[in-house]
Amino acid sequence: MKKPFRWRKVGFIEYFGIVLFLLVAAFVYVYVSPKSSDILVTLRVAEKDLIWLDNGSPRGIRASTIKEGMKEVDVFGRVIAEVVKVRSFSQPQTESVYLNKKTVYVTLRLRAQYNKQKKQYRFQGTVLQASDWLRVTIQSTIVNGVLVMVPAKESPPPYYVTLKTQVKLENPFLYEPFNETTGVDPYVADAITVGEKATDSDGFVLAEVLEKTVRPASIIVGDQYGNIFERQHPRKVDIFLTIRVAAQEIDGQLYYLDTIPLQVNLPVPLFLKNITVEPRIVEIVSVESP
């Protein structure tokens, strides 16, 4: 006759065995089973505490520590994070001309867990969503920044905008032109070469100098009777540049280097080989759609 099950007979072996089995199963599930899927995300490298200064962008030398192909592996040697692409260019809006900061976009391939209900990916406790912060340790480098694209995708082709600009002498700290003169020293003009290109780390042309016109700077002088006259400065020069920049359109507005709006009288940073100038837009000549 079949004996009825008596739960008091369940003892250490049974309880211990079940818990141990669950633990092993959990270990296998967490460590051995493949994670849901890989996902490509793009983040902009930034320091959270310095976000108010140049968007928290890193110095150039620190940005260069992140290399394509860097991989982080788990205990089984499986790749859980990989740097797929690094794109960087000089950071505009630096508060001091002496700072060398970079805007760095890093595209990462992350082995993340996918929540089907919420349609969200989670990597090491962080839900991968645009505008959130992500901190990933890859080998001996920390990649820390704001997620800008989840999942990552190719950037749309740029608009090419031709601009007429004038290089003015400016107070580098206040970004305000002096009232009386618009001239600059001639060596500034000499440092700008026609045909020179500003590129990002991939070699993509961000800006190109098409034309350069240099003439003696016009200054305003007055006599003892209150008459004013326009005269040429004996030493300083005015520089007029025609440049072509790569821009992207966001809500009908064209932006250069992600954040610089292309509008008349606003400066356009030109990071050339020997000099960085910020000529003011005088005229928007043409816009070439992609």
Partner: protein, 493 residues
């Protein structure tokens, strides 16, 4: 004074052997030596008791008041990773494997053998076994379902097996005598006193291999506490030491009024050693917990059983004067800490910060109620929440999160609920309640004077740990509590 007629006296040999073992740890040049010394001590215990399992049980109790044998520090989520200044050590999620854990693992192996040989267990409370089982299962399931970092939480959930193993191991017959427990705890009190006094004299950590955080001594920077040094003994934090002292200290109280054998001054004075340590930790919650615990002890002994409590050793006038002097000095030391609780002069006042943490955790609870965020992941989750705000500007509306982020909520029961949700926490709460219930039932049934005093001490420690659990991010030490309750539930009691 009440004489014992049933049991063998508490063993001075055992106390000195234990003290010798603790002392050997002080001179241990490396953690490997700690292992070696533990091995030697175990053989001495085996020799003294002539019983392998009893020696193993005693070894486990010996390791309660001291955190030794940190095998390797897997710094999973550390202050370094989170970028918190001054918190370079792992704040929560370190996996610390101690000799005590290895001892329990060995017990598990022996239990498998005992079960296969069908040895007799003292199984009077099958519902307790079921709850212990559910606690372990609930913890594993919850960490797998809800953890933000299951790879870490699952490792931590292994430790949920400890109470189950200890329950069965301590229910094997024969079990330890109360006198052995008292002797071991007395040695522990004296040892921690020695370490703490060394830290007092040096004004910081001594630099021993058994001090878990080598260069870390807590300094209370709250405005009213006047930058007090707080002493952590062999623990990583003064509050952790104070919490661990609750059990041996509560047991030492019974040795004041009941002689577990000879009238031994050494065992008698264990209480005072513990008192000094508990005060020097400057842990206010533990002070309050001690008041609650000792009240329970006195309610049982004085009012339920109507014993006339009298010190077993008569102190001379000079001894009493010295004792009163020491207690007055320690009382003066306690004053700034007590004041800092009642009056907070600045942003860092205790009540204010605890309230902020409570608010933060309660908000998190609503979104992680069923399975929690994972074992030891609560602080990490708070970090993730804080990272949304982006700035450490003092004027930020979320400043409480950013300033006090490294602190877990100062309520162990709520903290567990955040970590493992209802799935993991409810079995734990049931377990705490059940242990108290069976202990209370047994207390009312025992007739032996010694077992009544022993049981009242255990009940005092139980209450004290629960009270402290409500005020600290530390829970009652469930494995130890299970082991002690099982000793008390033994047939021989």
């Amino acid at each position: 004074m009440i004489e014992s007629t049933q049991m063998k006296p508490a063993s001075r040999t055992l106390i000195f052997a234990t003290l010798l073992f603790y002392g050997s740890l002080v001179i241990a040049p490396h953690k490997i030596a700690v292992f070696l010394f533990t091995f030697c001590y175990f053989f001495i215990l085996w020799r003294l008791m002539r019983h392998f399992r009893l020696a193993l049980m005693t070894l486990y109790l010996t390791l309660i008041p001291i955190l030794v044998g940190k095998l390797f520090d897997i710094d999973l989520i550390s202050g370094k990773e989170l970028g918190i200044p001054g918190r370079d050590f792992g704040i929560a999620a370190d996996i610390v494997i101690t000799i005590s854990d290895i001892t329990v693992a060995l017990m598990g192996v022996l239990l498998v053998g005992a079960s296969l040989r069908k040895e007799s267990f003292n199984r009077q409370y099958p519902f307790l076994e079921l709850i212990l089982f559910l606690y372990a299962v609930g913890t594993v399931v919850a960490t797998l379902m809800g953890s933000v970092r299951p790879d870490i939480s699952i490792v931590h959930s292994v430790f949920a097996l400890k109470p189950l193993i200890l329950y069965y191991f301590f229910s094997l017959q024969p079990t330890l005598r109360p006198a052995v427990v008292i002797s071991v705890f007395t040695a522990g009190l004296f040892f921690e006193l020695g370490i703490v006094m060394g830290q007092v004299l040096k004004g910081g950590s001594i630099g021993l291999v058994i001090e878990t955080i080598g260069n870390y001594i807590v300094i209370d920077r709250s405005l009213d506490a006047a930058g007090l040094l707080r002493y952590g003994g062999t623990y990583m934090h003064a509050n952790a030491l104070a919490h661990a002292m609750l059990i041996p200290f509560c047991f030492s109280v019974s040795a004041l009024f009941y002689s577990y054998g000879k009238k031994d001054r050494l065992i008698f004075s264990g209480f005072f050693a513990g008192l000094i340590v508990v005060i020097l930790t400057m842990s206010r919650s533990v002070w309050l917990s001690v008041v609650f615990g000792l009240s329970v002890f006195f309610i049982f002994t004085r009012f339920v059983w109507r014993y006339k409590l009298k010190l077993i050793i008569v102190l001379t006038l000079a001894q009493r004067s010295v004792l009163v002097g020491v207690i007055v000095v320690l009382g003066i030391l306690m004053m700034p800490r007590l004041v800092s609780t009642l009056y907070s002069g600045g942003l860092y006042g205790s009540i204010e910060t605890r309230s902020m943490l409570l608010k933060e955790y309660t908000q998190s609870l609503s979104t992680n109620l069923m399975a929690g965020v994972g074992l030891e992941m609560d602080v990490y989750m708070q970090y993730l929440r804080a990272s949304h705000f982006g700035s450490r500007n003092i004027d930020a509306p979320n400043r409480s999160v950013l300033l006090y982020f490294p602190e877990p909520v100062h309520n162990g029961f709520l903290r567990l609920l955040i970590q493992v949700g209802l799935i993991g926490a409810v079995p734990y709460y049931l377990l705490v309640f059940s242990l108290g219930y069976v202990l209370y039932r047994k207390l009312l049934r025992v007739t032996s004077v010694m077992h009544r005093f022993f049981g009242a001490s255990l009940m005092a420690a139980y209450i004290a740990m629960i009270v402290n659990g409500f005020m600290q991010p530390i829970l009652p030490d469930m494995p130890v509590l299970t082991a002690l309750v099982m000793i008390y539930l033994s047939d021989s009691v």
